[in-house]
């Protein structure tokens, strides 16, 4: 027989997503807004070349869509080496974004408990 199950939607529901963490980080490090998604950071990132799921460009994009689930697990992999910031053609301060996102996630979690 055919099994039925309700598949969880894979789409980003931007209207439903909470935007507070995104806003906090964008306010504290506005340079993220000028990212042009070239991938230079991911390409050069030491953590990203070792860990299959750690992609800093993608994580920073997820942040800007209010998709935090992966950030919680992934952002701790960043070693804060700053190589990404060295190559970025737009001068995005990625290290500071990682720090501020971690902080915002922690604060948000303690606030909602």
């Amino acid at each position: 027989m055919w099994g039925f199950k309700i598949a969880k939607s894979q789409s980003i529901n931007y209207d439903r997503n909470d935007k507070e963490i995104m806003r906090t980080v964008l306010d504290s490090e506005p340079s993220l807004r000028v990212c042009m998604a070239c991938g230079g950071c991911t390409s050069t990132c030491s953590a990203g070349n070792l860990l299959p799921t750690f992609n800093i460009r993608r994580l920073n994009t997820l942040l800007q869509r209010g998709e935090y689930a992966q950030l919680r697990n992934e952002l701790n992999n960043c070693m804060l080496c700053g190589k990404c910031t060295l190559v970025c053609p737009r001068g995005v301060n990625i290290r500071n974004i990682v720090l501020n996102t971690r902080e915002a996630l922690m604060k948000y979690e303690s606030d909602t408990i």
């Binding site: 991938g39 230079g40 390409s43």
Partner: protein
């Protein structure tokens, strides 16, 4: 009936590339006398270095010859191997230009057509230009195509060529935030030419955005994909290194997949952007204003594009902004009309 008799005026054009040649032809056609001053031994500027031109692959030499023929006019005095060493504003809004050949030219107007400088790829140290022979710039590839000498470091037809967009453009690390406009379509043009000659060579373009701004450019992009099987990867290469065989190993993010990507190639071609020549002495002496991108700033981007902040000094072509040859020619004609009107107003 009133007859307007125009007095012949003298115009000094600095720079004999496409912009200078076309402006000279137009001004001479309008009855003016022109000195076309070029520091090189020949006219043509960067057009002389090209094999063929986007979008219709017309041979560059043919276009240059046609432009030069058009500029054969007794009203045009061509001064090659010549540089202006001094330029002063004198009475009646005129200019006295001294050349390194000892001439003094008294001009009613000056047209800057000094073009651009190609970005020096060695400034992007992560690509090893000038260190690894397998890393070349776009004009070196153009020369290989022109001389029928597309080779890898071992002297063989390359098995793979990677063209990397946005070198020295859109890059705040080197102080150039602007887009050089022509390098995307140049990469597509060059990729097609490589495939046309060597169908077995794999050609990749690594890009951040594909900017096909002109008529028939998008069609050229599609042709590259469909007919010539050129591959496009969305990601900027972050570093390159040569192995013992001289092959180049590159690293990028394939951003559409979201994973780091490694690849080897025989040739890595850096699509260098355009930079303004800020050392140009005449502009320095006259105090011609430059914009944030260091190209000459127009008095108004809409209505006074060819005018500068200095009365009687005009600009044309790629010294005002990155520009292709088609736009350069149109811009040079517009500059000629602006000068003609300016001189007409004053007489």
């Amino acid at each position: 009936m009133n007859q307007v008799i125009m007095q012949q005026k003298n115009i000094a054009i600095i720079g004999g590339g496409p912009a200078g040649i076309e402006a000279a032809a137009s001004l001479a056609g309008l009855g003016h006398h022109v000195w076309l001053i070029e520091r090189d031994s020949e006219l043509g500027g960067h057009l002389r270095l090209m094999f063929n031109l986007f979008p219709d692959k017309r041979p560059a030499d043919e276009v240059l010859q046609e432009m030069l023929t058009h500029a054969q006019n007794p009203n045009i005095e061509i001064l090659t191997n010549t540089q202006v060493v001094d330029c002063q504003q004198i009475a009646n809004n005129r200019f006295a230009l001294k050349t390194d050949k000892g001439q003094t030219l008294e001009a009613d107007a000056v047209l800057m057509a000094t073009g651009y400088r190609l970005f020096d790829a060695a400034r992007k140290e992560e690509y090893g230009y000038g260190i690894y022979p397998g890393v070349i710039n776009s004009f070196e590839l153009e020369a290989m195509l022109k001389n029928n000498a597309l080779k890898n470091v071992k002297g063989e037809v390359p098995r793979r060529v990677i063209l990397l967009h946005c070198i020295g453009s859109r890059d705040e690390k080197v102080g150039n935030h602007y887009c050089s406009k022509v390098c995307c379509v140049t990469a597509v043009k060059q990729a097609i030419e490589i495939k046309r000659r060597h169908p077995d060579t794999e050609v990749f373009c690594f890009y951040m955005d594909i900017r096909m701004f002109g008529p028939y450019y998008e069609e050229l992009y599609r042709e590259a994909q469909e007919k010539w099987k050129v591959s496009f990867v969305r990601g900027k290469i972050s570093e390159a290194a040569a192995n013992l065989d001289g092959e180049i190993q590159i690293k990028a993010e394939d951003t559409l997949i979201g994973k780091p990507l490694h690849m080897r190639t025989d040739l890595l071609v850096l699509m260098c952007g355009m930079e303004a020549d800020t050392d140009e002495p005449v502009a320095q002496q006259l105090g011609i204003a430059r914009g944030q991108n260091r190209f000459f700033r127009s008095a108004d981007n809409y209505t006074l594009y060819n005018n500068t902040n200095v009365e009687g000094v005009f600009t044309a072509g790629a010294c005002t902004a990155p520009m292709n040859i088609i736009d350069t020619i149109a811009n040079a004609r517009a500059a000629a009309i602006s000068i003609h009107n300016y001189l007409g107003c004053r007489s």
